[in-house]
């Protein structure tokens, strides 16, 4: 492992604060929509810039740290920017810029009510997400994790219909229960070790406990982070939360919230329990079974969905479990693939949701069966949709192929042939639920969209950008931010490998 240095820096704190400061500004300028959106965009850009400014140091193996105050004796509200933290923070804050632009087009195009609450909650959610990414210990993680639940609740119930309120209740019930299990798990670890810090390779290696105690606590964690990660059977809030406005589904329910869940899974696997303990007590098997079952079942359910957003939601559930499976494989390539899939799935799935939203605002169609011939009316949107869905199926050279490739290699390395079968089967199922959409859009002739044109540029530009990113990252996975090297760096730290020896 590369020698890591730590240094004190308040930049991570400011990165969290950037969007938090925007919340009151947004609330105060509720009467002036242009000023209000200006704050959102400024906050998004500042936040991204702050996160980006931390990247060179992380690549050089330096870790920024700061402790704001103490939450519990010896446990601070501490932030730490390691490779994994910045990896997630970059994705979330980068995509927030695009989502903000898209949101303006969507919310105005759709004449949504309560836009101020929407933008304020959005900014708060992003603060919580970056907080999750930069958490240095489990307690800080829990603080931001719960904050994320509360901040996203107003977005889920945005339309205030009965359906939305019910979805909101379900979301709260699931997420709060999960949070409690996390607290229980953290309590156990705290009383066993006196520490809750995330350490590459885990913090429990010196703990004396029975295998069953480890398994029970691990299960607490799996459910605790698994609810947000959409692991079955704890997933059902996610499809129902699709009643939220589409930008919410795009950024939060495909990237920020659910990825906080898988982020948590990898933190737990790599930085709390550690690969050694996981293998010793077969904890990875528990995780792998959950993940494998989820991948297949979610894809099968996705096949039956006619609502476009619900189909995408189930697809998200399946793909989140790719990442979980990658963690469970506990092989070098599997881990790299899983982590890399966080970024690849993010850009692809956000593209698809953006497209679904553009279709909805433009034509008010929400069902797959109503999309015959839409490709002609909205060529850019559906072109982007095609790129995103082909990428998720795993067709080269779109970036989805590479993360999947590493997952496949990882399964071979760990000798988990079933995982291999699951991944390949899931690729087929992905094709089975995505290709019909493309078929309808481009190859079924219909005049129903003759009077419709492309959606507003506020929406089309972001969605084309993300589609372009999916392709560009396919060819150059390290372009701009070095996502792939970061994934390798994280893996190397967790498995205590020499960086030079690992990789390619």
């Amino acid at each position: 492992m590369e020698p890591t240095q730590t240094y004190n820096s308040l930049v991570p704190f400011w990165a969290i604060l950037a969007s938090l400061i925007a919340v009151p500004l947004i609330l105060l300028s509720s009467k002036k929509p242009n000023v209000r959106e200006f704050w959102t965009l400024i906050a998004a850009l500042v936040k991204f810039a702050l996160v980006l400014s931390l990247l060179p140091e992380v690549r050089a193996g330096k870790i920024a740290e700061c402790t704001l105050l103490e939450l519990s004796p010896q446990i601070g509200l501490s932030l730490k920017v390691d490779a994994f933290g910045i990896f997630f923070a970059l994705i979330a804050s980068g995509l927030w810029i695009l989502t903000s632009i898209y949101s303006i087009g969507y919310m105005r195009g759709h004449h949504e009510k309560k836009q101020t609450r929407y933008f304020a909650s959005f900014a708060l959610s992003l603060s919580a997400t970056i907080g999750v990414a930069f958490s240095a210990n489990l307690l800080t993680f829990i603080v931001f994790y719960e904050l994320l639940t509360l901040a996203t609740y107003p977005l889920v119930i945005h339309s205030e219909t009965k359906e939305a309120i019910r979805a909101g209740r379900q979301y709260l019930a699931y997420s709060l229960s999960a949070g409690l299990l996390l607290i229980a798990g953290a309590g156990w670890i705290y009383s066993a070790t006196g520490s809750l810090d995330f350490q590459p390779g885990g913090i429990l290696n010196s703990v004396n406990a029975t295998p069953n105690a480890f398994r029970l606590v691990f299960l607490l964690f799996v459910v605790g982070v698994g609810v947000k990660a959409g692991i079955m059977p704890f997933h059902s809030w996610l499809p129902n939360a699709m009643v939220a406005p589409t930008p919410v589904s795009a950024l939060l329910h495909a990237v920020a919230v659910v990825k906080s869940g898988v982020f948590g899974v990898i933190r737990v696997v790599g930085f709390v329990f550690g690969p050694e303990l996981m293998t010793l007590h077969h904890l990875n098997l528990i995780l792998g079974i959950f993940a494998g079952a989820t991948i297949i079942l979610a894809s099968l359910i996705a096949l039956q969905q006619d609502s476009l957003k619900r189909r995408l939601a189930y697809s998200t559930i399946g793909h989140l479990s790719y990442i979980v499976l990658g963690a469970a494989l506990l092989s070098k390539d599997g881990f790299v693939g899983g982590i890399f899939h966080i970024s690849t799935h993010a850009v692809m799935k956000i593209t698809l949701f953006f497209c679904a939203g553009a279709i909805y605002v433009n034509t008010h169609r929400q069902k797959v069966s109503e999309l015959d011939g839409i490709g002609k009316a909205m060529p850019w949107t559906m072109g982007a949709f095609a790129i995103g869905s082909l990428g998720l199926i795993g067709i080269p050279p779109i970036n989805g192929f590479f993360s999947k490739w590493y997952l496949v290699m990882g399964s071979v390395q760990s000798g988990w042939w079933i995982a291999l079968v699951v991944l390949l089967l899931s690729g087929l199922l992905n094709a089975a639920y995505f290709l019909p959409i493309l078929h309808r859009a481009f190859f079924v002739k219909s005049d129903q969209f003759a009077n419709y044109g492309e959606a507003s540029p506020w929406m089309v530009v972001p969605l084309c950008t993300t589609a372009l990113l999916a392709v560009v990252f396919g060819f150059f996975p390290n372009l701009f931010f070095g996502f792939f090297s970061l994934a390798q760096q994280i893996t190397a730290s967790v498995f205590n490998l020499n960086l030079a020896g690992g990789g390619q």
């Binding site: 103490e70 939450l71 519990s72 004796p73 829990i142 709060l176 229980a184 309590g187 705290y190 009383s191």
Partner: protein, 496 residues
């Protein structure tokens, strides 16, 4: 500084006496006098807390008579802390009470405020006294005042006050009876003296019976499940200010007495090995947490819901006491503070509703509350989140200490109870929040219910105390380590 222990309760008794001399016409004077006296008490308490932290316990011998013969008052870290909590909450609630008193019981300002002064004075007396019998005297003073306060409410208040009186008197009698047994055996009433005598003598049945009777007596006063029967009615029908005073601090002081008796007066073996008092209290607490939370879900009236929630929250303190460990005691004492703030805030919010809407019926709340009373709604939200126990509000941290305290003893029952109760809290608070934020007026018109829309935000005298308390929840949450390290750690008895 030396005289602080006596000044703290005395200023309230002086206030109560002066109250009767006020001219009847000037209706605002009683309120001013009450706030002034409480402010004085608050200053003394804060000074006392500062002095105790800086230079240790202050012992005060009334009339210069040495204990065990003379009466001793003492201000140690625990009692100074309790004084500070009680006076801070009282001060905010009394500032808030101006409009409530005019609205809910016009023309009764003098008796109301003198009873208030007696209540707070009595409670502070319980806290500062170092004498078991004096404790009983102050207990009776505060109880009598609170019976009177509960009776000043709506039509049903006198009945609930009578029930409270009967049960409260039974509780006090149990305490006195138990104290008699202890006195027979030890020949002393001074706490420190009794604590030093008890370990030297063999444990005989009278001691055991004395301990049990005293604990049961205080359990009634504290509304420890299943001795909580008097509480829901008393809280619901009393005036908003009385409830906001009695709920956050009245039962807390009883919890303080329990902590004082179990950890400072009785030796540890007596309450853990000879008779499992601690364990019993802990499990009763666990049962009370669940029962109180479930009953709270079933209520339609906001005040009644909060009353049952109080039963549950008091039980957290009991659970912490029951753990009998440093972490458990930290959790219990921190929860005394946190819950005092939370409950005061919530009852003030319900008072704001009563003043502005004319009711606090959950099923009739709607989003006019959010539109017209945004700050009250915000304060309620923060307090609700804290009650559920979500970080970084205060409520999370007391639960956190209780959880890790339970893990320390591998007590999975307690852990499960604490976690499940958080969910139950979420159910009954989000039910209200959903109504306040999401239920539109139009929907309500369809329901054809009698409409009572909020017209405007509560007046400043009501709003600011509410907001200070809710902001305090965030401050207490983020600053919990400071409080634990610098204040609560000083209170932990050395033999724990």
């Amino acid at each position: 500084m030396r005289h602080l222990p006596v000044f703290i309760p005395l200023i309230f008794f002086l206030g109560a006496l002066l109250m009767a001399l006020l001219p009847r016409r000037r209706t605002s004077l009683p309120h001013t006098l009450a706030v002034a006296a409480t402010f004085g008490g608050w200053v003394f308490s804060i000074l006392g807390l500062g002095t105790v932290i800086a230079s240790g316990t202050i012992r005060y011998h009334l009339g210069g008579w040495q204990p065990p013969i003379g009466i001793e008052l003492s201000l140690d870290a625990l009692s100074a802390f309790m004084c500070a909590v009680v006076t801070t909450v009282s001060l905010l609630v009394l500032i808030h009470s101006k409009c409530v008193a005019a609205n809910e019981h016009p023309g009764k300002a003098v008796p109301f405020y003198s009873a208030t002064m007696l209540l707070i004075g009595g409670l502070l007396g319980i806290i500062v006294t170092a004498d078991l019998f004096n404790l009983y005297v102050f207990l009776e003073i505060s109880s009598l005042a609170s019976y009177a306060l509960v009776a000043i409410g709506d039509k049903r208040a006198p009945v609930s006050a009578f029930r409270y009186l009967i049960l409260g008197t039974v509780g006090a009698s149990f305490y006195l009876l138990g104290l008699g047994f202890i006195f027979i055996v030890t020949g002393s009433l001074n706490m420190a003296d009794v604590a030093s005598i008890l370990p030297q003598i063999t444990t005989t049945p009278p001691i055991l019976i004395g301990v049990i009777l005293m604990v049961i007596g205080i359990g009634v006063k504290m509304a420890l499940f299943p001795l909580h029967g008097w509480l829901p009615d008393a809280y619901t029908y009393a005036s908003s200010t009385s409830t906001a005073l009695i709920a956050p601090i009245g039962t807390k002081v009883a919890a303080y007495v329990l902590i004082r008796l179990l950890f400072f007066v009785f030796e540890k073996d007596l309450v853990t090995i000879e008779i499992p008092v601690l364990k019993t209290i802990g499990y009763l607490g666990a049962a009370g947490i669940i029962a109180g939370s479930i009953l709270a879900i079933a209520q339609h009236d906001l005040k009644r819901m909060l009353a049952y929630s109080s039963v549950a929250q008091i039980s957290y303190i009991a659970l912490g006491i029951g753990l009998g460990s440093t972490l458990g005691l930290i959790g219990a004492i921190l929860h005394v503070l946190n819950h005092a703030f939370m409950k005061a805030c919530l009852f003030l919010v319900s008072a704001n509703f009563l003043t502005k809407l004319g009711h606090a019926d959950i099923s009739r709340l709607d989003n006019s509350v959010r539109l017209k009373m945004p700050w009250t709604a915000a304060a309620f939200t923060v307090a609700a989140i804290s009650m559920i126990g979500l970080p970084p509000t205060a409520g999370f941290f007391s639960k956190w200490y209780l959880v890790i305290g339970s893990f320390e003893q591998s007590n999975w029952v307690f852990i499960t109870v604490i976690l499940v109760s958080s969910l139950l809290n979420a159910v009954y608070f989000f039910r209200v929040l959903e109504k306040i934020y999401l239920r539109s007026n139009e929907q309500k018109a369809e329901d054809k219910e009698t409409t009572a829309f909020a017209s405007s935000e509560a007046p400043a005298s009501m709003l600011y105390p509410t907001l200070i308390l809710s902001a305090g929840l965030l401050v207490l949450g983020l600053g919990n380590v400071f409080i634990v390290e610098h204040v609560i750690k000083l209170m932990i008895p050395p033999n724990l």
